[in-house]
């Protein structure tokens, strides 16, 4: 699924997050939905640059660098393995002076095969498969983090996430043959990330975004949707008094330099 994402970001110190939450709740007219997600980020290796990973949508079609892949899943359910992983491949945001940030991303949900008759009740098997799949595309695990917070919907289009992150230190591994490394890292990562005990950063990140379907699945009225989405985001920005803004596009550059 190819998306064009219009975004505005903001940061709120923890001392004021309750105020912001109640303000957003009043603006959107809804109680916040809880968000609890586990994100893994994979980097492309220099072994080879697989053509399948270059985002082929949007003006940034010919990249020499490949993007990192962010994989995330919900931890809110009772059983970890019941939720499936979602892959997101972002590109560097568009340049140019504009009111909202525009970024093209590709997103898909990773589902294990139906013939999966493993009867494990923890998520280790699922995560191991994920690691092996990405390894097959020459992507290796780089780092991961937990994300928890709240989610609002504004104007039927804008999704506002107010979350805290908990960066996790990557598991330290000694010399291990390449084949087994994935399994160990996967098992470690999937099981040792405990949201209840994780240390979250004190800053809350506000991310207001509109995802517009582009590319082969779009319905052809992308420009109109972009215009409306931009309007909604700007309206939201006005309503919450300038908390959200556009960060430097270099910061959101997910690309990795690959040696030739």
């Amino acid at each position: 699924m190819s998306l064009q994402e219009l975004s505005l970001y903001g940061a709120v110190p923890s001392s004021r997050h309750a105020t912001v939450l109640s303000t957003l709740s009043a603006i959107t007219g809804m109680r916040p939905l809880r968000v609890l997600q586990h994100h893994l980020v994979f980097s492309p290796t220099s072994a080879s640059v697989s053509g399948a990973l270059h985002p082929s949508i949007g003006p940034a079609a010919t990249q020499l660098e490949a993007s990192r892949i962010d994989v995330h899943r919900d931890l809110a359910g009772p059983v970890k393995s019941s939720s499936s992983w979602t892959l997101t491949i972002p590109t560097i945001p568009e340049s140019g002076k504009r009111n909202v940030q525009v970024q093209y991303i590709n997103r898909t949900t990773f589902r294990p095969g139906d013939g999966d008759d493993n009867d494990n009740d923890d998520g280790s098997d699922n995560t191991g498969l994920l690691f092996r799949f990405l390894r097959a595309l020459d992507y290796v695990y780089a780092y991961d983090y937990l994300e928890r917070g709240y989610l609002f919907v504004y104007g039927g289009m804008v999704i506002i996430k107010v979350t805290q992150l908990s960066p996790q230190s990557p598991p330290q591994l000694h010399e291990i043959p390449v084949g087994d490394e994935d399994e160990l890292v996967a098992a470690n990562v999937a099981q040792s990330r405990d949201p209840a005990n994780a240390k979250f950063l004190a800053t809350w990140v506000v991310h207001a975004y509109v995802d517009i379907l582009t590319g082969p699945d779009s319905t052809g009225d992308d420009l109109e949707k972009v215009r409306i989405g931009t309007e909604r985001l700007e309206a939201l920005k006005a309503e919450i008094g300038g908390i959200i803004t556009i960060p430097d596009r270099g910061i959101l550059d997910p690309r990795v330099q690959l040696g030739k």
Partner: protein
């Protein structure tokens, strides 16, 4: 003892059929329950250490309930009771048991009970008088005030002051607006220890971590872009 209806019937034997057994029985039941609960309450209060107020409160509630039931029963059988007269049968040994007889047949209440009844009647009359003037603030006039007027005025002043000293819309507090006008927001990599004992990081640092894996606590001088394969970048 026997009772009979106002219809005069000369019948030396006790007329068992005219005794209003059900009424008396139900009243007796209510009275015995009330006595039981009152005894329990008294026992609770007289303990060496007083039990928690919840227990006392629940007992008291039970007593009130019993009282209500009793008054309802009395009301129900009022007609029957009004028409009932207790009198001794000829076979009662009046001369020996004069004191017992007068005790049982006495209808006059004790002096202090009389006081209570008088006070209650007065209160009731006053309440009824106040009914048409229910919209006036309590405490006006010579009736017993519940909350004095000046307490209400004081409360109103306090609420007004509190309300005016706060802005009820907008997101930033007064102090933050002032400090934000002076300081530069983009530049802060540490704002001070947050509540969780962690250093507040800026938006740029967080986003840089999310997209590039650069350590969150690395300050943002100019844009530090991490294009290395493995992250988070450690220096």
């Amino acid at each position: 003892m026997a009772s009979r209806s106002p219809v005069v019937k000369v019948d030396p034997a006790m007329d068992a059929a005219s005794v209003p057994v059900e009424s008396l029985e139900s009243i007796r039941l209510r009275l015995s329950q009330l006595t039981h609960w009152l005894n329990r309450l008294q026992a609770l209060v007289q303990q060496p250490t007083l039990p928690p107020w919840q227990t006392l409160h629940s007992q008291f509630a039970m007593v009130l309930k019993q009282l209500a039931a009793l008054s309802q029963t009395l009301n129900q059988h009022a007609d029957t009771l009004r028409a009932t007269n207790a009198y001794p049968l000829p076979s009662f040994p009046v001369v020996q048991e004069t004191w017992l007889l007068t005790t049982l047949l006495r209808k006059r209440v004790e002096p202090e009970v009389e006081e209570w009844i008088k006070a209650g009647a007065q209160e009731g009359a006053v309440q009824q008088q106040q009914q048409p003037n229910a919209l006036d603030p309590p405490g006006s006039g010579t009736t017993k005030p519940r909350v004095p007027d000046d307490v209400w005025n004081f409360a109103r002043d306090v609420v007004d002051n509190e309300r005016e000293s706060r802005a009820w819309d907008g997101v930033f507090t007064g102090e933050e607006l002032m400090s934000n006008n002076e300081g530069d927001q983009k530049d802060t990599s540490t704002i001070g220890p947050g509540r969780e004992g962690d250093v507040e990081v800026s938006l740029e640092q967080v986003l840089r971590y999310v997209y590039q894996g650069v350590d969150v606590h690395e300050p943002v001088h100019k844009v530090v872009v991490n294009t290395s394969v493995r992250g988070p970048a450690r220096k």
